[in-house]
Symmetry: C2
């Protein structure tokens, strides 16, 4: 096939695919269209850049345009793919007000997702940020930088200098609202708290990090409060009040004056370019794909935050937009289009997040309603145990929740929180999930034990013992 | 059955079994014979007690004799079981020079292991220690305690006060030899180094921790050297020279003067009481058992450091005396004899050890010769990758070795070393091993990613990618 491999989107999935294809099939023409100026940046690192723990915005870039060119990839930034004609095998590309039709042999849609902000009235005011773009991160960092601190100089990065300069000129905010207590909200609470702001976090549900379950959520709530964050739980934000700039958060029950706000209420897949293409979306609104990342249209693939994946526990399509999934699926599709069909892999919904010193992890299905929808009869237990031998210094209480199917004893999911190497322990559960382990099997795993790292019975094993006891009655 | 459950040995396996049986069948009579004065102590904590990181010897005890009595267990210390008559269903117990016959309904042999010291000539001199008993740990700590430091007062612990006092009166050693570079040797090098001694570690093979493979061994060798430990590798210790006290280590090529020595060349199972009993030992010399911990004789079980287990990778019997295995098997047997047959679980040979700041882990089969003996066609790769996102502070290079079977792609084992949460990552591999995962499946695991804890591709996934590349050619 002489037609090129065309990739839409120059971030994790797109560039992983382009790079892998080019490495395996060096003669294949590979074109990447990126509508913006930024490529290959670490979304997950932005809160730490805002916090100041990551010094320069440029540290968040994995690949420069030059690196991409060195790999033999034809990268075209500021080129937006606005339509796909899957019958003709072409895409319509807009750049500088011009439109061209680009034929493809294989097409990868790796357009990512965008932060939802239109659900919050007033989110367009100055001083309101969604932490989903490099320019927003740069502007917020400039806003927070006190007069005495050296500003990030950005070098030759394609930063929106005008926006940055406007915020740099303003007085740094003394208080901020965070709308949404998911990953981004919790990470931003840490970032802004560390900057000395008076932080107010607004969350609809009873506790932050709802997808991590109650035990993690309660622990994180306590940690946030310990660090001076004011939590407004069971709280629906109605609007962000103010003039040009945000001045207050208004909920159904209160009005809290703030100098800045971060909206982190989730993301939505970017799929507009597929309107009318015949490429099917799944129930989540993201692109439906098979185990090789193929859509329903010949030669059209999708990967990353715009695409669904198969869930390891339910076997059903699911949409969990996270970094590893994007990289892995992109790499697999790059290999597939280069001639070696490679599955993109299932997802287990594994996620970890740091909230000040609390390390949180979750994987699989924890929530009972969700488990019942998938046809399981869920049973859960939550335990707290030490992270090290009791006599060895430096350990911390570690809380583990496990959920299983009562009938089969199969592990469905788990969550963990603690201050000592807690988050990384979720990988044990993620691995067990993908091996379809039962809780009885989990209980018998030969896990690591040495006083500095784990007690004889790791917290994960303690949880398995207790849950297995419940299951076996 | 009205005859009692008799347990020989009052440590991890024995007391786990006794406790579990009593909890599940409160009316069953449970008798534990322990030949020494100590019960239920943390072997693995001794190096940290010697180091001074664990303050008091009593901190290493999990259960006191009073705790055991409170559980309704008839614990008899200073009672040695010297023979088993499996035909009659009795054991012969010696105490205070008297012998009695004790009938049993079920019998658990949980006699543990003893340190090998007779292979080193001169190991009986003063100033030479094996770190396998509480009295030895107490004596060495007393020897190391400088005049100005408060000695451990031991409270009412059954310490050999005479031996402790003799060492407390001596001048603290300025130098020490460690014979053997396994776990104990490496942990003791850290302990004695932290005490300011000039430490010489002697190891037969090319690098310490040989069961962790070359990459870990080389890393640990470098770490030990960085901390001032002098390594004598490929070095066979012929004898410990001196008068009453040790004065030097003599190898085939040198004589190194030292003030003290620790011998850590391994342990041997305690099985003498089974001589003539008809209870079969395995090829390792430890007691052969089935998946429920049953020996070949009716009603006789064995668990802990004196017993074999089934290896998760080979399916064959193996002997890996470690703490979790003992606790888990004891607990399972306690449940079995109480009426609910419960498998003791396989072992994967998972082990972790700290060498100063280096965190080391291993699981399964890494060594190619061993893999070939088990019928596999081994292939390995070793990689080094960051433990966190490159831009996030606090990460460390993490080196992972994976071994797989070339024909089937099945993961056989792995090892890891690094300074940032490295050891606990071995649990991911141990879990994958017990699920019979292939390297391709390992590569597609949905593991945790967040900048403070892991890069997008965890070092374990990087290793899987590279090894899978080798396997697939």
């Amino acid at each position: 096939m002489s037609d090129p491999f065309v990739v839409v989107g120059g971030d994790a999935a797109g560039l992983s695919a382009a790079s892998k294809c080019k490495r395996e099939a060096p003669d294949r023409e590979v074109i990447v269209f990126e509508k913006g100026r930024w490529i290959s940046f670490a979304h997950c690192g932005m809160p730490y850049y805002v916090k100041g723990e990551v010094e320069s915005l440029g540290d968040l870039l994995s690949l420069s345009p030059g690196d991409v060119a060195d790999r033999g990839i034809d990268l075209r930034r500021s080129h937006e793919v606005v339509a796909v004609d899957a019958d003709a095998g072409t895409v319509t590309v807009e750049s500088d007000g011009e439109r061209v039709e680009q034929p493809y042999g294989d097409l990868l849609v790796a357009t990512g997702a965008h932060a939802i902000d239109d659900s919050v009235d007033g989110a367009d005011r100055d001083g309101v940020f969604t932490i989903h773009s490099m320019d927003a991160a740069a502007a917020l960092r400039a806003f927070l930088t006190p007069p005495g601190e050296e500003p990030d100089d950005f070098g030759d990065l394609p930063v929106d200098h005008e926006r940055v300069a406007a915020y740099a000129d303003r007085e740094p905010p003394a208080s901020a609202a965070i709308v949404g207590g998911g990953y981004v909200g919790v990470e931003m609470a840490e970032a802004l708290g560390a900057r000395g702001l008076d932080v107010h976090l607004f969350q609809r549900s009873e506790f932050p990090l709802p997808t991590f379950g109650e035990a993690v959520g309660e622990h994180v709530a306590e940690t946030l409060r310990d660090h001076g964050v004011t939590l407004h739980l069971n709280s629906e934000v109605e609007r962000l009040d103010g003039g040009d700039s945000v001045e207050a958060v208004v909920t159904d029950s209160e009005r809290v004056p703030v100098d800045a706000a971060v909206v982190g209420v989730g993301v939505e897949p970017n799929t507009e370019l597929l309107d009318g293409s015949g490429v099917e979306l799944g129930a989540s609104g993201a692109v439906a794909v098979d185990e090789y990342g193929r859509t329903n249209r010949e030669g059209v693939y999708a990967a990353g935050d715009c695409a669904e994946d198969r869930h390891a526990v339910t076997g059903d399509p699911d949409w969990v937009p996270l970094g590893l999934t994007a990289n892995r699926a992109g790499r697999a599709i790059g290999r597939t289009v280069a001639g070696t069909p490679t599955p993109v892999g299932d997802i287990a919904g594994t996620a970890v997040v740091k909230a000040f010193e609390a390390e949180c992890g979750r994987t699989g299905i924890i929530d009972h309603e969700r488990a019942r929808e998938a046809g399981f009869d869920p049973v859960s237990e939550t335990i707290t145990a030490g992270s090290r031998s009791g006599y060895y210094p430096g350990g911390a209480d570690t809380t583990v929740t496990l959920t299983a199917d009562r009938g089969t004893g199969r592990l469905l999911g788990g969550a963990i929180v603690g201050e000592d190497r807690a988050a990384i322990r979720i990988d044990t559960l993620a691995t067990a999930l993908e091996g379809d382990a039962t809780v009885a099997e989990l209980e018998r795993l030969d896990l690591a034990y040495a006083p500095p790292f784990s007690p004889v019975w790791d917290p994960v094993l303690v949880a398995a013992k207790v849950l297995n006891g419940s299951i076996e009655g």
